[in-house]
Symmetry: C2
Subunit: 414 residues, 2 copies
């Protein structure tokens, strides 16, 4: 039996953090947001990371299936990406005139991503989702935007919910919410709002939190694509989370259609801070018309890292490898569940798998199992999809399955 992790130093640091940082740690990575439940099973601060692992401040090592919520795709501290970034760092990062690395990065994205006739760089996924909506409004001279319930497109007021703190009615009054995979309802919305819909914004499949992830229904995307084209509505794919884990050409390409605008962040440069909006030629002038920039958006180090990351992912044909690793893990976890008499559901793409124990209608059994895995050094979260990275080895997968088995045994009969 494995020794269970203790988190004394994490807890001490969290108390210190809470004095000077609202919530102590904010966002998903903090204990307040619902994905780290039960909170006492989780570490809160890290000391270092390498490959498929990170070590917390108490010295516990984790096989990490969250990958910093996506950015870690090649393994932490990938030597090729870090070398390219360090070389650029010597020359300079954030300079009055931008480095020509920006051009090379844009050319590489245009060459890689199916729908990309151009690329524009920013810092956050949120910068490029917000920009995509603004470009759509500028191009169409319309206001309304259709969202699929369960979406996450960042944190700007326009993409939050009316009952969230700091959001006002005007922020969201042009949003229309509909159901994922329900084409008839979407068609009705277009009929009811003829000539008023600037954009449909969607993730490539429904990978929302707190529920089983849902791939697109047969022909759903083809029909949505045609509906948008027929109505001069801009089709935006938010590939911030799934990007480069399904298909290097874009997750739209993976599902057999072409978006008008596609948003990337996270895995774009293996954690170096950069995001990108790519899109079709007909929208390029509308992008130029926007007033849209940021202090660090021309930083050259993340450009150099992004070039190295995309180049390596292409050489490896990485999404295929990540999905094979995900498939292997999935089979191991399902076997372990079955052997112990549990009903484990694994949904979404294997490289972005979502876990749920369906043995009872409460979340409690599931959360207990996740907690027992985390306390044994396998970093899952309870209600968020996971991420596979290239450094994850067969040994890591075998150890994960062994830990999962032990965790099932630990919760049996509780």
């Amino acid at each position: 039996m494995r020794k269970l992790n203790e988190y004394n130093k994490s807890r001490e640091l969290f108390a210190r953090a809470s004095k000077v940082i609202p919530s102590g740690i904010y966002g998903h990575q903090g204990p307040a947001e619902g994905c780290y439940v039960p909170v006492e099973a989780f570490p809160l601060f890290s000391e270092r990371a390498e490959g498929s692992y990170f070590w917390d401040v108490d010295g516990n090592r984790f096989i990490d299936y969250m990958c910093a919520y996506g950015p870690n795709i090649l393994g932490y501290n990938d030597p090729d990406v870090d070398r390219a970034a360090a070389e650029q760092r010597k020359k300079g990062d954030c300079i009055t005139s931008p480095s020509y690395k920006m051009i090379e990065f844009a050319e590489l994205l245009v060459d890689t991503v199916a729908t990309a006739d151009w690329a524009f760089f920013a810092k956050n996924g949120n910068d490029v989702t917000t920009m995509a909506v603004m470009v759509s409004r500028a191009y169409t001279h319309r206001k309304k935007v259709v969202f699929f319930k369960g979406y996450y497109h960042g944190i700007s007021p326009w993409t939050q919910k009316i009952d969230y703190a700091g959001v006002i009615e005007e922020d969201v009054c042009n949003n229309i919410y509909t159901e994922w995979n329900d084409f008839e309802k979407l068609e009705q919305i277009f009929a009811d709002n003829k000539g008023q819909i600037a954009a449909v914004i969607a993730q490539p499949y429904m990978h929302g939190n707190f529920k089983d992830n849902e791939l697109p229904a047969k022909d759903f995307w083809a029909k949505v694509r045609k509906l948008c084209t027929d109505n001069d509505t801009v089709l935006i794919v938010d590939d911030v989370r799934a990007g480069f884990r399904l298909d290097l050409k874009g997750s739209d390409h993976y599902f057999g259609f072409e978006a008008d605008l596609i948003c990337f962040c996270k895995a774009l440069a293996n954690g170096y801070n950069v995001s990108a909006l790519c899109g079709k030629q007909f929208l390029k002038n509308s992008v130029s018309d926007l007033s849209y920039t940021g202090s660090y958006w021309l930083s050259a180090v993340p450009f150099a890292a992004g070039i190295a990351c995309i180049t390596k992912m292409r050489e490896l044909d990485l999404p295929k490898i990540l999905n094979e690793k995900g498939e292997k893990l999935k089979n191991g976890l399902l076997d372990a569940a079955k052997k112990n008499g549990f009903d484990l559901r694994i949904t979404g793409a294997p490289s972005l798998f979502y876990l749920r124990l369906a043995d009872d209608n409460s979340l409690i059994t599931h959360q207990r199992w996740i907690a027992e895995c985390v306390k044994r050094g396998v970093f899952f979260t309870s209600h968020h999809n996971h991420f596979i990275n290239y450094a994850l080895s067969d040994g890591d997968i075998a150890e994960t399955v062994a830990v999962a088995d032990e965790a099932f045994k630990a919760i049996k009969g509780l």
Copy 2:
């Protein structure tokens, strides 16, 4: 006479960039935005930077008074900041659980910035100005926000103008615009909107583009502070541009008052990509109530860089040094103008000086002079404030004044 710069490679690269990037280069740093006029005088892409200089792709060296539009405060590639960042890089940057460096950085800001009872980190200045408005709305349960004309608070739709591309009426319909330094008008606005104003957002002084910069009138800030307090309105200082160049305790402290929320970015980590919102204890819970995070917001390398940057700025008492350098440059430029019979106006803080030749009412004479400086290796821009950095030497200042003198002679009699 100095040889004039040529920019053949910059132009070739710009043509290449234009194919794959909307506008070729976006924002202030591109030729489309109005600060690089006449465009042919300016380089467009850089090769490297060091200290107070950068070199463009044609091998021209510039004494750089734009400092990447602010981030470069200690000199490009400052060895102390880069060493701290490189050490953290070896441990990890963007990790599933954040590094404890986040706590140390927050504690240092709370210890440094007068109004900071807490700190929250993001990536863009825009992230924290938007957050400041959301926090104000969450706390007050009000919608309206007062802006001073000539402001720049980032690029989210709420802070843009109704006639800008991609902006809709709902984005800006709760904004009230008034005149900088006009307290009576502000008082009237508060009377007309009793109990409805969530926040006043302002730069510490008016450092807008295309006009002489304007310091606060006597008692203006004291009266604004009292008006906000009396009306339970949140006072937000946007110190993204001026921060740490007037006062390490915050530009509000420099002008003798305390903001409720203060926004930092740019100079916070000498160019490493991080921004911060700091504020008063009474707003801390409202920050926690927001749903607000980003993929890279817990990156540890910029935290380590920020700690090293603030520590060094404190050891040096940096704002004093930057303003002395700015004062020396100002005197030299004014002398050179006078000697050549030109009416040069230098406004704003010396560390953030704004230049204007007031000899005619058109912008042409001014732009010609700026162009002649840039072509001789002194990087000014025509209609944006400038930035002083610590690496700028007395020799650099002397060379700048010599170039300015030559540039005055070049435009005389044109």
